[in-house]
Symmetry: C2
Subunit: 332 residues, 2 copies
């Protein structure tokens, strides 16, 4: 074994994150104590929520401390076990963060079955992002067949699942994404009915054309002008699941939402959520997602950075929307 490469938070970003906000170090690989396991991480998940943790501010989770290993979901293989619950070779999903090896008592990891879907997908379509899509759409928005579902960041790890579930439930699925290539992917490969390229400069007009019967459900990942444009198209009694507001995470001035009054006029339900608050829904969600993936009904795409040393650059790219589907870092 070599050292355990780690990525630490070096400084808190002001506005946009840069690679200089991170620091790469080599630590010794931990020796598992009695009851502990040592896991070699194969993949690290990069997710927008990490940006919030980097701030010195109240968020839905504890902030990331300076000079500590960046928080993050991982999937890897148990390489040494002093716990009766694990054996070498077990594949586990955990939160070991931005490092090559993790060591814990195993209470914070779960064993996964990689026979039906590959290891990496347990960080994406059948993992936290997939469950997020499932919870926000099915538990919060509760779309009915024939309704119109709109999702922003539609080509991302969460958004791509939202639209495909909407189609499985008989809805019209409309994505909002940045650039024609993502929109083409969303429509031609994932089967959405339409996708609006917000970078084309005709957001309100294009969204109106894509939603001729208005909008009944909105899965919000982005915020800003897209939120205002969607609110203008909402129908009476529509539902909005607020999962993320990525356009705001690096903004120094918050965007002022101009169409809040639609919430009153259309008697909209808006629900902010974070998937870790709803742990009882994970087992049914993961089961259904895995079934859809195994049967080919649910497609996914991954953008994979090679090597932990490239994680900071990949994370900056994620926040700028440079990824297609799930952003991963391959560590081995």
């Amino acid at each position: 074994m070599t050292d355990n490469m780690q990525v630490l938070l070096a400084s808190r970003p002001v506005g946009w994150v840069t690679e200089e906000n991170f620091k790469i170090v080599n630590a010794a690989i931990a020796k598992p104590a009695e009851g502990q396991i040592l896991v070699r991480n194969h993949y690290l998940s990069l997710d927008p929520y990490m940006r919030g943790r980097m701030n010195d501010a109240k968020s839905y989770a504890a902030k990331q401390e300076i000079d500590q290993v960046m928080v993050g979901g991982t999937v890897g293989e148990v390489v040494e076990s002093k716990s009766p619950k694990f054996k070498p070779g077990d594949i586990v999903v955990g939160m070991y963060g931005w490092q090559q090896y993790g060591c814990s008592d195993g209470a914070d990891v779960r064993k996964i079955d990689v026979s039906r879907v590959p290891m990496s997908a347990h960080l994406g379509v059948v993992g936290m992002p997939g469950v997020t899509a499932w919870v926000g759409l099915l538990d919060i928005c509760q779309p009915k067949a024939g309704e119109t579902v709109v999702v922003s960041a539609a080509a991302g790890a969460v958004g791509s699942v939202v639209g495909q579930i909407a189609k499985l439930k008989g809805c019209r699925a409309v994505g909002v994404a940045g650039g024609q290539a993502k929109c083409d992917h969303v429509v031609n490969e994932l089967g959405f009915d339409a996708c609006v390229d917000y970078q084309a400069g005709r957001l309100n007009r294009d969204l109106m054309a894509a939603t001729p019967d208005g909008i009944d459900c909105y899965f919000e990942n982005v915020g800003g002008e897209i939120l205002d444009a969607v609110l203008r198209r909402t129908n009476a009694f529509s539902r909005i699941a607020v999962c993320g507001l990525i356009s705001q995470y690096n903004a120094t001035e918050p965007y002022g939402v101009k169409t809040f009054q639609a919430i009153l006029t259309n008697r909209i339900k808006v629900q902010g959520f974070i998937v870790s608050d709803r742990m009882t829904l994970w087992p049914p969600a993961m089961g259904e997602l895995a079934g859809w993936v195994a049967s080919g009904k649910l497609k996914y795409r991954e953008t994979v950075a090679q090597g932990l040393e490239n994680a900071p650059k990949a994370f900056v790219g994620l926040l700028k929307g440079q990824n297609f589907g799930k952003q991963l870092v391959k560590l081995i």
Copy 2:
């Protein structure tokens, strides 16, 4: 009998409503046909929702047509009945609008008992505004004892009931109102724990002082800067019932809500509502409200304009927050 004085919408306001947007006419008193009743209205209710109806725009109800009698809730006495369901002397609440007499088949009115609470209160504390308070607070926000409930327009017909119900449920009740006189009324007469005068120029600081444990429930009647100030103080899993946004009804430019991100961070539920969508809740709400009024647990105040010809002026005053409690027009 004399003529039937009526107030019509003469023109749609641009920005602030003025008295010139209305026109007063004298029409003949209708002769009830077989199955119909003629009602002499004693009180007309003035409510903020009427402002929305005056616009040529989509709202939660049909717009008010030009040269038609202004929409509005009324309470009055049946003076002639050709319906087996009513007799002269019956007191009824209806939607006869801004006029002295109403005539209909009675399907749109309900008989009320004025032995426990006076006639006028059936347009206020035990009528639509009271039910609105009950539904928004108890059905949507569902406050638990010990939680902090904030309501804007706290001295108004709806807000005054919201805070008093919050107290009855064991909550800390905090109002936001315009001016020291209203705040004194809310605290000293209605029993709120605190009231923030938004006109004093220290909104964020005063709201923080009034809500030391943060805000769990917000009953929104006003919008604008007050909404932003409240969102900054929300706790995790707080609930917001959006009943009105009176600060926006006469605005030519919508206010940009800067703290929308709190909905995500604090996993807030925001629900716009209009009480007429929830008719099944009216009977239990009215029963409970009437009981509280009769037993002295629920207080109310009225601002009464004399004579239908003064309704336009009183309505402009209502939109500017010049009323205390329920704004009525006495027609007799």
